[in-house]
């Protein structure tokens, strides 16, 4: 296979190899949730085999008045793994947006780079012959539609379009992201538990101001590091931390895991005991689909919206909240979120209080320097 990414090592197109890397990187950025990128990966690989590599465009390369549309899947990952989307379903929401706005889409983008939705727009880009944008609206994974940087900047989420595999298409106008979440979720149920959706159609100018830039490249780099370390039998975690400006929070093993399903989300906590040099330490990790809070001895180690990932100590491969098992040897890593999540509105939307943890948010850089974080 020709390498389409020789241009000064800068990722300029998504080929089969890039898709393999991004799928792993997206799982790291999924911070334990976000769904398995497996089906999205297979869809993207199939489209690339058929149409060739998909061009990657950077936010700074966009015309200010160009139209960029996020495309993702909404619903239960279990359903999507059984009722895989149709090809038409992945472009129909774009058709509906174009019809409503009376103009062509210049590029598609993932709404979230963490987990399964990272590669969903690739198939539409390949079919349409348009580029995919090297950016998303989270820089990680979150569970609800309004948890996007576009929402923080007051960008209209409408028009919103959805499609199922039968050919049903929906055009919606919602007054805000919270109402979008309610209505889209109800429609998804009628559409059989899984649907494609475009929301927050944005201009090039809005992308430059409000999107989280270069996150597909970041996912690619993470995946590349993990694959190459595996081939060279090296420990990838050091390299990964450098890439992510991250911090190793804890080395240990899972000794207790409690999960429960509440309101459609997997909530719970896991306890880890330190191993080797860290014997005697105990970390608690709280999750709701994603890992949201890590604590030790009544002190925060990392707090949402900063990212917390669990990596296999040997391979560096990410571990999800669903696959975490007693005895797993892990390194917990934390890294800073996009600065927009640290604004008052950002914290109101995705901070610890929104998820029901009554603790203050302290940036991971300060926690790592030993400042604050007492609960």
């Amino acid at each position: 296979m020709a390498n389409n990414n020789t241009d000064q090592n800068k990722l300029t197109a998504l080929d089969e190899q890039a898709v393999q890397y991004i799928a792993v990187g997206a799982a790291v950025l999924g911070t334990g949730g976000g769904g398995d990128p497996h089906i999205g990966k297979l869809m993207a690989l199939e489209a690339i085999r058929k149409y060739g590599p998909v061009r990657l465009v950077r936010p700074e390369e966009l015309e200010d008045d160009s139209l960029v549309v996020p495309l993702s899947m909404i619903g239960a990952p279990t359903v999507m793994n059984e009722k895989i989307p149709s090809i038409e379903q992945m472009t129909q929401p774009l058709d509906l947006i174009e019809k409503e706005l009376g103009r062509k889409v210049s590029a598609v983008m993932p709404i979230e780079v963490g987990g399964g939705n990272s590669l969903v727009p690739v198939i539409a880009a390949a079919e349409r012959g348009i580029p995919i944008l090297d950016a998303d609206a989270m820089g990680r994974a979150f569970p609800e539609s309004q948890m996007v940087t576009f929402y923080l900047d007051g960008i209209d989420c409408s028009p919103i379009t959805m499609a199922d595999e039968r050919g049903n298409g929906v055009l919606m106008h919602a007054i805000d992201g919270v109402w979008e979440e309610r209505m889209a979720r109800a429609l998804t149920i009628q559409m059989g538990g899984s649907a494609s959706i475009c929301d927050y159609p944005v201009s090039g100018a809005q992308v430059k101001k409000s999107a989280v830039p270069h996150t597909l490249t970041l996912a690619y780099e993470i995946g590349k590091t993990l694959f190459e370390s595996k081939e060279q039998k090296q420990n990838p975690i050091e390299a990964l931390l450098k890439q992510l400006h991250g911090y190793a929070l804890f080395n240990g093993k899972a000794v207790d895991i409690r999960r429960r399903t509440e309101g459609g989300f997997t909530r719970g906590e896991a306890v880890f005991e330190g191993t080797d040099a860290e014997k005697g330490r105990t970390m608690r990790l709280y999750f709701q689909n994603e890992f949201l809070l890590a604590t030790e001895d009544g002190r925060s180690l990392a707090v949402t919206p900063d990212l917390i990932s669990l990596l296999d100590q040997d391979t560096g491969m990410p571990i999800t909240t669903e696959n975490l098992k007693y005895g797993a040897r892990v390194t917990a890593v934390g890294f800073p979120c996009d600065p927009r999540w640290r604004t008052p509105k950002g914290l109101e939307t995705v901070g610890p209080k929104y998820f029901g943890y009554d603790i203050p948010y302290v940036p991971i850089e300060e926690l790592a320097a030993g400042k604050g974080g007492n609960l």
């Binding site: 059984e82 989307p85 198939i123 979720r185």
Partner: protein, 525 residues
Amino acid sequence: MPWTMMNNEETYRIGIDVGGTNTDAALLDSKLDTIHTVKVHTTRDVNEGIVESIRRLLAESGVNPARVQYAMLGTTHCTNAIVERKHLGKVGLIRIGAPATTSVPPLADWDDTLKAAVGPHAYVARGGYEYDGRTIVELDEAEIKDYLARMKGEVEAVAVCGVFSPVNASQEKRVAELAKEILGEGMPVTLSHEIGSIGILERENASLLNGALLNVIAGVVRGFEQALQSFGIDAGVYICQNDGTLMRSEYALRYPILTIACGPTNSIRGAAHLSGLNNALVVDIGGTTTDIGVLAQGFPRQSSAAVEIGGVRTNFRMPDILSIGIGGGTIVRAGGAGETVTVGPDSVGYELLKRGRIFGGDTLTATDVAVKLGRYEWDGARTEGLDASVCRQADEIITRDIEDAIDRMKTSAEDVDVILVGGGSILVPDKLQGVARIVRPDHYDAANAIGAALGEVSGETERIYSLDEMTYEEAMADAKNHAVEQAVLAGADRATVQIVLSEDIPLAYMPGNALLVKVKAAGRL
């Protein structure tokens, strides 16, 4: 001898486990006590090893072949066929999925050699159901007939896989009827809802592989039956599944994929039987590796992750096994001035009796260490000249690695019971960290063959129920009934069938109180 006395004579069963290196065989009586075991090398023509093991079992025990009532076989034939891409049959696939599923075609993640072995006839036809059993679109029978007609003369089996068929199997069954109509009554048809659970690509892959293995399993069953007949054994023939239960040979002829990886499972079942324990970790130490599995309610704990076979992702049940590179033949090295001792991961394997130091060979192995430390007595062992300090260091590493692996497989922090089986289990000291009790049963080195001989047969079901339409109790009762019927179909005596596993999972993001229920039932022959 009067016939009344004949009827009071003891009856027996034979269990055989064909592994990569050894073929083990065990003879059990009607109380399931072990009478005799033998171990022979697995031959290139696997059937030769099977014949030899039966011959020795009968000759050495002196049991009358006419009194052997059941014969069970666990084998790696099917795994080998997939891994080596040999003897696989051509399969025609009909996925009932369009308009859904078209973004990922069948065989998308298969490599070219396996694709070529199974053949080019894969079609996506209109049809499929929602998670609650509602029809997405009806079958287009003309379309199905067209695809089947194209397969004529070019396939040896047909596989059918429909969207949400584990919830509603009607369309798959209709396609099976059409396949028989067009390709003949004798055409074998694999329906995916009988093979795997939710997750269409994995289930489709497993169904295709099942179809491709039909010839392989037919050869295995025929060879086994002929071998038994040649010794005058007229027994019920059963084949081992990977979940630790048996299926009748007629059933195995239809579901060969269920035999994949039955070896570790047989060891776990055998260990359970020999020790009398129902909940424990089973540590099976062979010549090259240590396999650790979890015995829960008498059955192996299943793996929750997707399982790859020959590079293909499937989702049918497999035991959750952790393997580490420590066995009786594992090579121990003491390096240079620093005296650093390393253990493995390479092994002298079956050459242990030639190359091990205590046997006069030139290679220090884990077995030499165990004998030097007095853990096991071997007549004529040459322990003089073995460096005691090196042995102690090696032993520390071996013990620590095994303790670490045991800890990884535990499900809670409490100490567990450990059952030690396999020829290499002499390596392990009598105390291990995190372990409450170490049990070393009799016949520990034939636990796999004994596991094969144990006569439980099972059936299972996995369905999604909507609790808006029925109560939780009704849903569980329906699933349990279905599992019991499956067990009876597989050969279980209805009176002995019990529910051995029952779990329900509320589905995230799903409406109408959707509940995924998995139930498994098992009973005696």
